[in-house]
Amino acid sequence: MIEVQNVSKQYILSKQQKKELETNKASVFAVNNVSLTCTPGKVFSLLGANGAGKTTVLRMISTILKPTQGIILVGGESVIDNPEKVRSKIGFLTGSTNLYDKLTPGEIVKYFADLYGLDKAIFEQRKDMLFTKLNIHQFSKKRIAQLSTGMKQKVSIARSMIHDPQIVIFDEPTSGLDVITAHSIIELIQQCKAEGKTIIFSSHIMSEVELLCDDLAIISKGNLIYNDSMHNFKQAYQHQSLTEAFIAIVKSNSPKLTAAH
């Protein structure tokens, strides 16, 4: 389970940043008083326009960023007090295939397995299962620099799932990917859900959200403006498509939120 309670992320602005943002304020909130809960066996979608604060929330959950205020519990562990324990429970995947060009898929997965402290026998078993499922065996000895984007994303999936995490964080996992590779990610999310994992993912692609998510939250300019189940959302906006409803919610909340800043 992921529990986010009244979490904010505030940045102190440098002189240069004040100039760029054309503001006299000493600080800005990238995320302001956000609360949400992701439960096991369900997919939680975090929606929002570019720069809304989705990635900041996900980075705070995965302990890359520290919240300025509020509490985040991941699998019962605090991201502030026990960040390493939190990290051992999570798998983190983004759409940009962040891999080491000079290593092979086998070497990358081994590197991360070692960092997760995986036992050798378990590693071999997990690696074999993931490589078979994702068809990585055929290019497992090639260097990443020689692989296509689709192949790289498969390696990224194997890398993020090698330790069989109970909590999976997907930050725009399909952005910029071709249809086939994007589909393999969708399948992965569905499988994680079937295995009872806790899943949170951010996306701009409404069809994916509609297909996958059980709960959703909309974030705009750092503020949470909607947080409910997909079922309730559909009931409330039954005459609109998801995209139309999303735009309507963001537009209707924007002026209030700007004033709050």
């Binding site: 890359i64 390493e84 940009s96 962040n98 080491y100 000079k102 290593l103 590197y111 991360f112 402290g117």
Partner: protein, 391 residues
């Protein structure tokens, strides 16, 4: 410790697969001294041979009988009917090498046991010319001197009232140590720094730029351990570059022709386990210092290019103290033993010469260790800042 070794092993693997690092840390350092020694020696020899064998075109003005046959040599070509002014113009136009002018009173002065002046017009850029012509004139001068000694019926020693007998107490090892010892650390310090440069950019800024840093920060390892693995990898590459420079020099001296056996014996005496251990004890903290310093610097950059522009000027900051150590009169003392880079360069010079003061050596090692820890700490503080590690 496992995490540190996991990161270290991976970083070394990535680094050794990078051509730029291989060239700057292994190939270039091991070849630079052999190439320098071989190339410079060969070039110097060939230039001197060429200048010595070249036929010099000279014009003689007012030649006295004493010099009528002095330049009858195939390596000289005498040009006749040239006055001084024509000769100067010809030298300027490179159609003549020199004019040797004997003033009208030259023979008279020689006859009266006075000094006769020979005016030599030439370009100082013409290598070896002065030596070759003065050698010929000196051969006549010696003859005149002997004749005068005979006429005056005195001993030749009358013209040499004082003679200095030099007794050099410095051992050959000390002499060569002070000579080579100044040059060697200058080279290996620079290569140690350059060896750290590319891995630091690749392993710190490169990870930020490619986005792999974000993924790495989601594993259950502390930032301290991740950074320690990275700094160790960077310093190992820098250390290898420095060691390759030394190995390159030793191999070159042993394999190159024309190295005097006496010099080789001194070299064998010099490269002892003690020398290697003492050098390593200084080089290891130096490479950690470079790795920590460079990591703290390149972590500020968002791209590889930006990191390069931050690091390149630092090469000069390192070169200056290393260069100062090569200057005569700059010795290892209590103050210089605390100045980074300069201290290791001076201490190496003393170790090679066999004149190192062990207390001062200890001060050098301790100051380098303190500096290395400080650089690593600053780097860790930077690495702990969110704004530094994320794009």
């Amino acid at each position: 410790m496992n995490t540190i070794f996991t990161v270290l092993a991976k970083e070394l693997k990535v680094t050794l697969r990078d051509k730029r690092t291989l060239i700057s840390a292994i190939i270039l350092p091991s070849l630079v001294i052999p190439l320098l020694m071989f190339g410079v020696t060969k070039l110097q020899k060939s230039l001197i041979d060429k200048a010595s064998d070249k036929q010099l075109k000279i014009a003689m003005v007012g030649t006295p009988p004493l010099f009528s046959t002095t330049f009858n040599d195939p390596k000289f070509k005498l040009v006749s009917n040239v006055d001084v002014e024509d000769g100067r113009r010809a030298i300027q136009a490179d159609s003549l090498d020199a004019v040797v002018e004997f003033p009208a009173d030259f023979s008279e002065k020689i006859k009266n046991m006075q000094s006769g002046t020979v005016n030599l017009y030439y370009k100082s850029t013409n290598m070896m010319l002065y030596n070759r012509i003065s050698e010929k004139i000196d051969s006549v001068k010696v003859g005149i001197l002997k004749e005068r000694v005979k006429q005056l019926n005195i001993s030749e020693e009358a013209f040499l009232p004082i003679a200095i007998a030099k007794v050099d107490i410095a051992s050959p090892k000390e002499q060569i140590g002070k000579m080579v010892g100044g040059f060697l650390p200058y080279i290996f310090i620079i290569f140690c720094f350059m060896g750290c440069m590319y891995p630091a950019i690749e392993l710190i800024t490169g990870e930020k730029e490619k986005g792999t840093m974000e993924t790495l920060l989601t594993v259950p390892a502390s930032r301290f351990k991740i950074l320690t693995g990275k700094i160790l990898a960077i310093s190992i590459v820098g250390l290898s570059a420095a060691l390759m420079t030394i190995i390159g020099m030793v191999v070159a001296l042993k394999l190159l022709p024309d190295i005097p056996p006496a010099f080789l014996n001194i070299l064998n005496d010099m490269v002892t386990p003690r020398f290697v251990i003492m050098l390593f004890a200084m080089l290891f903290p130096l490479s950690i210092f470079f790795a920590g310093f460079l990591s703290a610097l390149v972590i500020r950059a968002k791209t590889f290019k930006e990191a390069q522009s931050l690091v390149t000027p630092m090469t000069f900051v390192i070169i200056i103290p290393a260069l100062i150590a090569t200057l005569p009169g700059v010795e290892l003392g209590w103050q210089t033993s605390l100045i980074p880079v300069l201290n290791i360069a001076l201490a190496t010079k003393e170790i090679i010469a066999g004149t190192i003061n062990m207390l001062q050596y200890a001060a050098v090692v301790i100051s380098l260790v303190v500096l290395a820890l400080l650089a690593a700490y600053v780097s860790y503080k930077q690495f702990s800042r969110e704004s530094m590690v994320l794009q």
